[in-house]
């Protein structure tokens, strides 16, 4: 694959009203020179870097705080990864975890957009030794 070609994942946050189908149709209608593949979390697009970037910019306008994106190393439909060819997808578990967190990140972006001051947080602490001792000494019924 040419180095100027880029593959990108476009993910829709779970809190968005958009569907992968709608995003895929939207990308088709844009008329840029990119291929698009609908997935469970959004779409995968592939094409010349500039075209991919223009497409992403336009797609983001649909729901700016709920559409996220990152590049992908493997080309679209690569037989080593594509599930249609029984490829493995070792990174998917992390992607799934982060996809679930996107609705939290969205709240952060909205907070930033409104210029709100973020709340003050209590620092996460480790379990005190006394509590641990209590657990150890606890007798099972």
């Amino acid at each position: 694959m040419n180095n100027d070609v880029e593959t990108r994942l476009i993910l829709i946050a779970p809190s968005s009203d958009l569907t992968p189908d709608r995003v895929a149709r939207f990308v088709h209608n844009l008329g840029f020179l990119v291929s698009v593949k609908e997935t469970c979390y959004g779409v995968v697009i592939e094409g010349p870097k500039e075209e991919v970037w223009h497409t992403l910019t336009e797609v983001r306008k649909l729901d700016p705080n709920r559409i996220f994106s990152k590049i992908r190393a493997f080309p679209m439909g690569d037989i080593r990864r594509c599930r249609a060819h029984h490829g493995s997808r070792p990174g998917f578990a992390q992607l799934e975890k982060e996809w679930k967190d996107l609705c939290l990140v969205e709240k952060g972006l909205v907070c930033l957009e409104k210029g709100e001051k973020p709340p003050e947080l209590k620092k996460r602490t480790k379990m005190p030794v006394s509590d641990l001792k209590k657990f150890i000494e606890e007798e099972s019924p």
Partner: protein, 144 residues
């Protein structure tokens, strides 16, 4: 500016860094060339002889080969980094970043380079997410 992200395949960090106008240094970008190389049959599971040599620059010969192989990919990214963002408590048991020792070593090498670093934790609720996004934005704006 080029920002090293940890976990290096993080979607959230990649998106936010790019959104706020910087270039994320990611695992996906580093692996792209290897994936498209005809020499390697099943990347990232296979490595070339050059990878092994390159890994030695970042991890000694006594270090397990898994760490050295990973460092062959992370190392050049760390060398390019002008700043870094670390997100702790990643679901390490999953995916290609499942090696905590590599992550520790990578973080150490970034710290040795004395570049600005922002350390965060994966958000567990809305308030934590708000703080995380605002901190990332402020950190990246200060770099410009």
């Amino acid at each position: 500016m080029k920002i090293f992200i940890m976990p290096p395949n993080s979607l959230i960090l990649y998106d936010l860094v790019e959104r706020f106008g910087h270039q994320p240094l990611s695992l996906m970008g580093a692996l792209k060339d290897r994936v498209n190389s005809k020499e390697i049959e099943a990347p990232p599971l296979n490595v070339t002889l050059d990878d092994v040599k390159l890994g030695l620059k970042y991890a000694g010969i006594e270090i397990p080969s898994g760490i050295r192989g990973r460092m062959a990919i992370y190392g050049p990214l760390i060398d390019q980094a002008e700043a870094a963002i670390f997100m702790e408590d990643a679901p390490y048991s999953f995916g290609c970043v499942g090696c905590q020792r590599t992550n520790e070593l990578a973080k150490l090498l970034v710290r040795k380079r004395k570049v600005p670093i922002l350390s965060l934790e994966y958000p567990e609720n809305e308030d934590e997410a708000k703080v995380m996004v605002v901190e990332i934005k402020e950190f990246l704006e200060e770099l410009k």
